[in-house]
């Protein structure tokens, strides 16, 4: 029996020890009419060779496209050591480190992870992960509202990833929190300062600032933070952690820095995998630590005074605090954080900065090559980080179909989320894209645009 070691003889012995004749008897407390062993859909078992054949076939079907989408998930180099070590059984198959003494490996790693994230974001503390970026924003919003008491309004720039807004909406709407849009200025693609200033009323718990924003554009973070703080409102920064190898840390934005920093951790060594598992990170100021959701690992000492690590401030969590917990989160994204910690250690600050810079330079090169084509232009005039919106004078959906057929994923079309950005495409070329691949893309694009 797959994954069941019992021989018939052993089963017999065990039933005897229990004092029943047949396994079915063990289910005799279940009302008989509820027992239903009929499965209409589930197919017969495959052996390992069979499932390998089937899954390889499915995976191969999705093939190997040259990818020019970023839009919240990035195809970066991942050192081979990251996953060879993260999938070691001792990391892979352990539970949440409830028995600290038997989980020092995971716990020390998580403590190191927290330290790395705090340093990267310039914040005082970090938790041990949330599900992913978008739901991390929802948690940050709930946290800001808890910290700000009666204030129930959050300012959300339209220039944030649309799925982040949607997710946040789903998660916070039942608690009476309202999310107000802040438009972007149509030339710059960044937050419209005057609308923002108007909206920043007494009832606002927090302003969300994406950096770079969904369009790749860089926001004026110093001014934004100072303005928000002046109006008594917290700042939630939404950042790409790899970008922080070269961009200013949210802890240093403006005079006092952001209050809560969240983001998608995927750029730190996590494969794209059609969308997950990734991980969300959250850092904040010391002041807010008791409002944080999620696990937190602390360093302490053992009975001999020796250093050791343990889950701490558990009184914030559902398993202790139940209905008064800071969140319902329990299982989070431990293995992903293990990989990210390995990634950051293997890349180091220099390697990460280089990856960020190369991605930026590659995107710039791509944009140059594409905008050299007549009918293709940059949509916004702000400086960007490693991602850019292009406006193309042809039907973008047709274009994407045609280029996909050439084995290239052209970019993310924006129109379905932004009516006004008709035929706009968000493109990104990470450090893994070669010039030859960009030329190939440009060639196909030119052919299509000129055919129009």
């Amino acid at each position: 029996m797959p994954f069941i070691p019992h021989t018939e003889e052993e089963t017999r012995l065990m039933l005897e020890a229990i004092g029943v004749r047949h396994i079915d008897e063990l289910f005799d407390e279940i009302p008989a009419d509820l027992i239903n062993e009929k499965l209409d859909y589930v197919p017969p078992a495959l052996d390992e060779a069979g499932i390998r054949r089937l899954s390889r076939k499915s995976a191969d079907a999705d093939g190997h496209y040259i990818n020019f989408i970023g839009a919240g998930a990035y195809e970066h180099h991942i050192p081979a050591a990251v996953w060879q070590i993260a999938t070691r059984g001792e990391f892979y198959s352990a539970y949440t480190p409830y028995q600290a003494e038997a989980s020092q490996g995971t716990l020390q790693l998580l403590y190191e992870y927290q330290s790395m994230m705090a340093s990267l974001t310039g914040m005082d503390v970090s938790n041990a992960s949330l599900y992913e970026g978008a739901s991390a924003l929802a948690e940050a919003v709930l946290m800001a509202v808890r910290a700000q008491r009666r204030k129930q309004r959050i300012l959300m720039p339209v220039s944030i990833h649309p799925a982040y807004r949607e997710t946040t909406e789903t998660i916070v709407k039942n608690q009476g929190i309202s999310l107000s849009n802040i438009d972007y200025a149509s030339e710059s693609g960044t937050i419209d300062m005057s609308q923002l200033s108007d909206e920043l009323g007494d009832d606002v718990a927090a302003l969300v600032i994406p950096q770079p924003n969904y369009f790749g554009a860089l926001e004026e973070v110093d001014a934004l933070v100072d303005l928000a703080h002046k109006r008594g409102c917290l700042v939630i920064a939404v950042v790409n952690p790899l970008s922080l190898a070269i961009l200013k840390a949210p802890g240093e934005w403006g005079e006092n820095g952001a209050d809560i920093v969240i983001g998608e951790g995927q750029s730190l060594g996590i494969p794209l995998s059609s969308g997950g598992p990734y991980f969300g990170f959250m850092c904040c100021t010391q002041k807010l630590v008791r409002q944080m959701p999620g696990r937190l690992i602390g360093r302490t000492v053992d009975a001999d005074g020796k250093q050791g690590f343990t889950l701490t401030l558990q009184a914030r969590e559902q398993h202790i605090r139940r209905s008064k917990a800071t969140s319902n989160i329990c299982t989070n994204q431990g293995l992903m954080v293990t990989a990210a910690t390995l990634y950051m250690s293997l890349m180091g600050p220099a390697g990460m900065a280089q990856a960020a810079k190369l991605s930026h330079a590659n995107t710039r090169m791509l944009v140059e090559k594409l905008t050299a084509i007549e009918g293709v232009e940059v949509a916004f005039n702000s400086p960007v980080f490693h991602e850019c919106v292009l406006r193309i004078n042809t039907d973008v959906d047709d274009l994407i179909r045609a280029i996909t057929a050439q084995g290239i994923i052209a970019g993310k079309p924006l129109e379905s989320d932004y009516e006004e950005l008709k035929n706009c495409l968000l493109v990104c070329a990470t450090e893994l894209r070669t010039e030859a691949e960009m030329d190939d893309y440009a060639l196909h694009l030119e052919r299509i645009v000129s055919k129009r």
């Binding site: 797959p2 994954f3 069941i4 089963t11 063990l26 005799d28 407390e29 279940i30 509820l34 499965l39 859909y41 589930v42 499932i51 390998r52 899954s55 995976a59 079907a61 999705d62 190997h64 496209y65 990818n67 998930a73 050192p79 050591a81 990391f91 892979y92 198959s93 352990a94 539970y95 028995q99 003494e101 020092q104 190191e112 330290s115 340093s119 608690q175 961009l247 794209l272 059609s274 630590v289 302490t300 250093q307 050791g308 343990t310 701490t312 559902q318 209905s323 319902n328 989160i329 299982t331 994204q333 250690s345 293997l346 890349m347 810079k357 590659n362 400086p383 980080f385 996909t404 994923i409």
Partner: protein
């Protein structure tokens, strides 16, 4: 004790194999937006990193190295093929926003998983979007809310939760804007149905129930409870964390549940990874279908598509930026196909056999069961209150001493109802030898508690650290390494 990675760092050390070639310019980014000071990340060689984290890994207990009977967590074998398959390039390399046409392989697997989960749960539709059990709960309760709201049934502001419930249940209800009312448990582990009857009313949005419950027993009055809740206009939520006990034998949909979640990282053997990621798909019956979260995977003449909010206007919306924990879903799919039709029921059979065997043997060895008169499901609870009273040795002490003997401890002090409790879940993948070894260890500790009380109370003695000071950890909060500390 292993040095922190930061303590092995030297300024200026570069791991060149990972420093990708090129001389990129970033002069188009304004100075004011650039970082001035390098982040305090470790600067170590590849060998240092590999050695450090390989060593750290060895400090962990895990399924791959120890029996890990952590109740309510279903620490069964994690087949290695599941990991291999999820890591195939074609799966792991695909961008989530690439056109659906480039993801027919992965979508076909996910769709197949959806159908399998429908079949075993007896629900009308399943969504794979939730990323863990707790998010599955959120999704379910949010759908219950959306359902009542859609019917303009606005006065329902309470969710009922048994006092034995997992902490995520009440926490979830609150996240969905509900008040929580706890329902007491009878001495036999079943819900106090009279108390339930009293608590229920027009203010009741729904009841969250785990069955088998976290007390390790099957709620026998489930049909009656379902009638009660439905009779009052409420909906019934199934916390499927314990599905391993009844997989292939009982379908939650047929017990009367309107909405359920499953923990694939338990029942479907995806790795726990030291705390995740998991996957918490939800299943619903017809009345909740319109409210399912997006994206939704649908099939039409062999082609798979992801639907979003525009296609599903009543949907509660999105739970994440993309499509949940896809790679975990793939692992669960591989596992499900390896079990196959006959394998599902066998899981429940042998998980239950193992639990009842351990219960019988431990009872025989003089341990007291919390629910003596009941069958164990896939797990059971013993209470060490007698041992504590007689020797001062607590459940915690027993747990720590078990670690010394090479066994991970069961879940301790949960559920909160049972004093000095051990919630023991062996799972079906453990062999008789392993169970007997654990039972023997328990008997030894029983003796040691009497003869070497202090030794047991100061356990563990053979682990990388001795008992840790949790109070200090919370009082003198040290959650981030600071250069000055070394």
């Amino acid at each position: 004790m292993t040095e922190l990675i930061f303590e092995q760092s030297t300024a200026g050390r570069i791991n060149n194999a990972q420093f990708l070639a090129g001389t990129p310019a970033i002069d188009d980014i304004p100075e004011s937006l650039l970082r001035k000071k390098r982040p305090g990340l470790p600067e170590v060689s590849e060998m240092q990193a590999v050695r450090h984290y390989t060593r750290l890994s060895q400090l962990n207990f895990s399924i791959d190295t120890q029996f890990y009977p952590l109740g309510s967590c279903t620490m069964k074998h994690n087949p290695r093929i599941c990991n291999e398959a999820a890591m195939y390039d074609g799966f792991s390399g695909r961008h989530p926003s690439a056109p659906d046409s480039t993801g027919q392989g992965v979508l076909s697997c996910l769709y197949d998983l959806q159908e399998i989960l429908k079949d075993i749960s007896g629900m009308s539709e399943v969504s794979l979007a939730p990323m863990a059990g707790a998010q599955g709960e959120f999704t379910g309760i949010a759908m219950i809310r959306a359902y009542h709201e859609a019917r303009n049934d606005d006065a329902r502001e309470e969710i009922l939760v048994p006092d034995a419930a997992h902490g995520t249940n009440p926490a979830t209800a609150v996240m969905c804007g509900y008040k929580v009312r706890e329902i007491p448990t009878l001495d036999n582990g079943d819900v106090d149905i009279d108390a339930l009857r009293e608590a229920i009313g027009p203010q009741t949005a729904g009841l969250m129930l785990t069955n088998p419950s976290t007390l390790g027993v099957f709620e026998t009055q489930i049909t009656e409870i379902a009638e009660l809740v439905h009779g009052a206009g409420g909906l019934l939520y199934y916390d499927g964390a314990n599905m391993n006990a009844i997989l292939g034998k009982v379908k939650p949909g047929e017990m009367g549940f309107d909405v359920i979640h499953l923990n694939l990282h338990k029942t479907f053997s995806t790795p726990h990874g030291g705390g995740g990621p998991g996957a918490g798909p939800v299943g619903v019956n017809e009345r909740l279908v319109p409210f399912l979260p997006v994206p939704k995977i649908v099939e039409s003449s062999g082609e798979y598509t992801l639907l979003d909010k525009k296609d599903c206007p009543q949907s509660i919306g999105r739970l994440s930026c993309f499509m949940g924990n896809t790679g975990i879903l793939l692992r669960a799919w591989v596992y499900a196909r390896l079990l196959g039709h006959d394998g599902m029921k066998r899981v429940a059979d042998y998980a239950t056999l193992n639990a009842n065997y351990m219960k019988a043997k431990l009872e025989q060895a003089g341990f007291e069961m919390a629910y003596k008169t009941r069958r164990a499901t896939h797990e059971f609870i013993l209470t060490l209150k007698k041992e504590k009273a007689e020797t001062g040795v607590t459940a915690m002490d027993f747990a720590k001493r078990l670690l010394d003997k090479g066994y991970h401890a069961p879940t301790t002090y949960f559920p909160l109802l049972v004093p000095e409790c051990f919630l023991i879940e062996p799972t079906e993948s453990e062999s008789l030898e392993e169970l007997d070894g654990f039972i023997k260890a328990m008997e030894e500790i029983q003796q040691e508690a009497i003869e070497q009380t202090e030794m047991v109370k100061s356990a563990p003695h053979s682990l990388p650290v001795r008992r840790l000071d949790d109070v200090r950890a919370a009082r003198q909060l040290d959650v981030v390494w600071q250069e000055e500390q070394t």
